[in-house]
C-alpha cells in the first residue's frame, strides 16, 4: 500500500516544476496582465496539488481546504481583473 502511494509524490514534484516555471513568468513578465496570468496558473496548480496531497495521505480535510482555496482564488482573480480594467465597482 505504501509503495503504491509513492507515485503521488513524483506527481507533486512535477507540479512543483510547473509552479517554478510560472514563478519565472511572474518575476520577468513585461506587463502586469502577464503576472496575473502566472498567478492564476499557480493557483490552479496549487489546488490540484492539495487534492493529490490528500490522496497521498488519505486525509479528506486537505481536499476541503482545496475547495475553499479554489473559490477564494477565483474571487481574488476577479478583483485584480476589475482593478486592471479601471472600472468602478
Amino acid at each position: 500500500m505504501i509503495e503504491f502511494f509513492n507515485i503521488y509524490f513524483i506527481v507533486l514534484i512535477a507540479l512543483l516544476l510547473c509552479i517554478i516555471m510560472s514563478i519565472i513568468r511572474v518575476i520577468f513578465g513585461p506587463t502586469i496582465p502577464d503576472r496575473v496570468v502566472g498567478i492564476d496558473t499557480i493557483n490552479t496548480i496549487v489546488i490540484v496539488g492539495m487534492v493529490i496531497f490528500g490522496a497521498a495521505y488519505e486525509e479528506v480535510i486537505y481536499i476541503d481546504v482545496a475547495i475553499v482555496y479554489a473559490l477564494l482564488s477565483f474571487v481574488s482573480t476577479l478583483f485584480i481583473a476589475k482593478y486592471l480594467e479601471g472600472g468602478e465597482f
Partner: protein, 138 residues
C-alpha cells in the same frame, strides 16, 4: 488491477498537460497566447489528475474502506469548483488586458478599439428612456 493501470494513465496525462502549461507560459510571446496556454492546459490536466483521485476513492470504496467514498465525493466537488471558476477568471483577465491597452504581438490594427464601451448602466437606461419619449412624441 485495471483500476491501477487507469489511475497511472490518468496521472501521466495530467502531469504531461500541466508541464505543457508551464512551458507555454515561458515560451509564448504574448499575453493572450500565454493565457491560452496557462488556462486551458491547466484545466485539462487538472480534470485528469482529480479524475485519478476519484478513481482511487472508488477503488478504496470497492475494497471495503468507507473513507474512499468521502474522498471521491469531495474530489468531485473540487473538480466542479475548478471547472466553474477557471474559464471565468481567464475571460476576466483577457478582458482587462484588452481594456488596459495591451496589444497582441506583431499586431498593427485593433478592430475593437472603435467599438463603443458601455461604461455604466445609468447612461444605457437614460438613453432608452429618451428614445421611448421620442417615439411617443412622434
Amino acid at each position: 488491477m485495471i483500476f491501477d493501470i487507469i489511475i497511472y494513465i490518468f496521472l501521466g496525462i495530467g502531469v504531461f498537460f500541466n508541464i505543457l502549461a508551464g512551458v507555454g507560459l515561458l515560451r509564448f510571446p504574448d499575453v493572450y497566447t500565454r493565457l491560452h496556454a496557462g488556462t486551458k492546459c491547466t484545466t485539462f490536466g487538472s480534470i485528469f489528475l482529480i479524475g485519478s483521485v476519484i478513481l482511487l476513492g472508488l477503488k478504496m470504496w470497492w475494497d471495503g474502506n468507507i473513507n474512499g467514498s468521502v474522498l471521491s465525493i469531495h474530489s468531485i466537488f473540487a473538480l466542479i469548483a475548478i471547472l466553474l471558476t477557471n474559464p471565468v477568471g481567464a475571460h476576466a483577465i483577457a478582458r482587462a488586458a484588452h481594456r488596459s491597452g495591451v496589444m497582441p504581438a506583431r499586431a498593427v490594427v485593433d478592430d475593437l478599439k472603435n467599438k463603443p464601451v458601455k461604461k455604466s448602466t445609468k447612461k444605457k437606461t437614460t438613453t432608452k428612456i429618451s428614445k421611448n419619449e421620442e417615439v411617443g412624441g412622434q
